[in-house]
Amino acid sequence: MVLIIGGAYQGKLDFAKLHYGISEEDIYTCTEENGIRFGAPCIFQLEEFTLWCVRNGTDAVKFFRAHRPEWENSILICQDIFCGVVPLGADMRAWREMTGRLCAYLSREAESVSRIFCGLEQKLK
């Protein structure tokens, strides 16, 4: 599994397309409403899945642990939302924490972790 993280609009998906030959059909985009569906070679916007988790009382890390065989060969992309001030709303705080814990877990499991900054790759692992 490859993990790609980075701030909003930094070019994470463009990087995946360029470096891993991902095409539009290979991408599953998570949403706050529908959560996640495994199976696609590239899963985009994990931060929407974690927001779905917060809304539905699901633990994102436990969920990923339980479905390990379904994503262990995927490219996972998540927006880094950890650097701002502590959000005022409880659900946004929970969202930030859930996303941070999921990324920390996935970083440990990943064979490669890249952070995208202004379209440039910073190899973290």
């Binding site: 930094q10 880094d80 939302i81 701002g84 705080r93 440039l120």
Partner: protein
């Protein structure tokens, strides 16, 4: 040579950019291109602090809050330009009337072509921007549009610059090129 410096707020980007500009320019002319339009006393105090900070560094200050390529008009051809900042330039171009919440939709492309012209034509240019992409907030479309446009400018500059630096608590993380200028 072109250098992009970004990072979080209050990480010493301006001071770092000034040092880089001094090193790049050698004995050549150096311009500090100020883009911010002061709105209140806090802004004016900040500008005074910046002016004081670079007073003995040999910069000539040019005020250029819009149409950034115009900073090169009449300037010496072998000069080094420090553009501080891309963030403020985009604000000024996008919201020409600060009391109106109406964004100028073509502003980002105008800034993009102006910045590219500076990068192409100036002997050396140092661009300062701000990294505002990693917080856990659902912004309104007004703010989100601004973030999208600034990211476009940042990525454009990162592509054409020889060196890209992220400052973190005053420390330089080099994403492209190197610091042996």
């Amino acid at each position: 040579m072109n250098v992009l410096i970004s990072g979080g707020c209050k990480n010493g980007k301006t001071g770092f950019a000034q040092d880089i500009a001094v090193r790049l320019s050698g004995n050549g002319k150096r311009y500090y291109v100020a883009t911010m339009i002061p709105c209140d006393d806090e802004d004016r105090a900040r500008i005074l602090r910046h002016i004081e900070g670079r007073s003995d560094m040999g910069f000539e200050t040019l005020e250029c809050s819009r149409d950034i390529a115009a900073c090169m008009n009449g300037a010496k051809s072998d000069a080094t330009f420090l553009i501080d900042s891309v963030t403020a330039l985009l604000v000024n171009e996008m919201y020409p009337d600060p009391h109106m919440e109406q964004a100028d939709q073509s502003a980002a492309f105008r800034c993009q072509s102006g910045l590219l012209r500076v990068a192409r034509e100036a002997k050396n240019a140092v661009f300062v921007s701000d990294y505002i992409y990693s917080d856990a907030i659902r912004y309104d479309s007004f703010t989100e549009t601004y973030r999208t446009c600034l990211a476009l400018l940042d990525r454009t500059l990162a592509e054409v610059c020889d060196t890209v630096i992220e400052l973190c608590a005053g420390n330089a993380v080099c994403h492209k090129g190197g610091l042996d200028l």
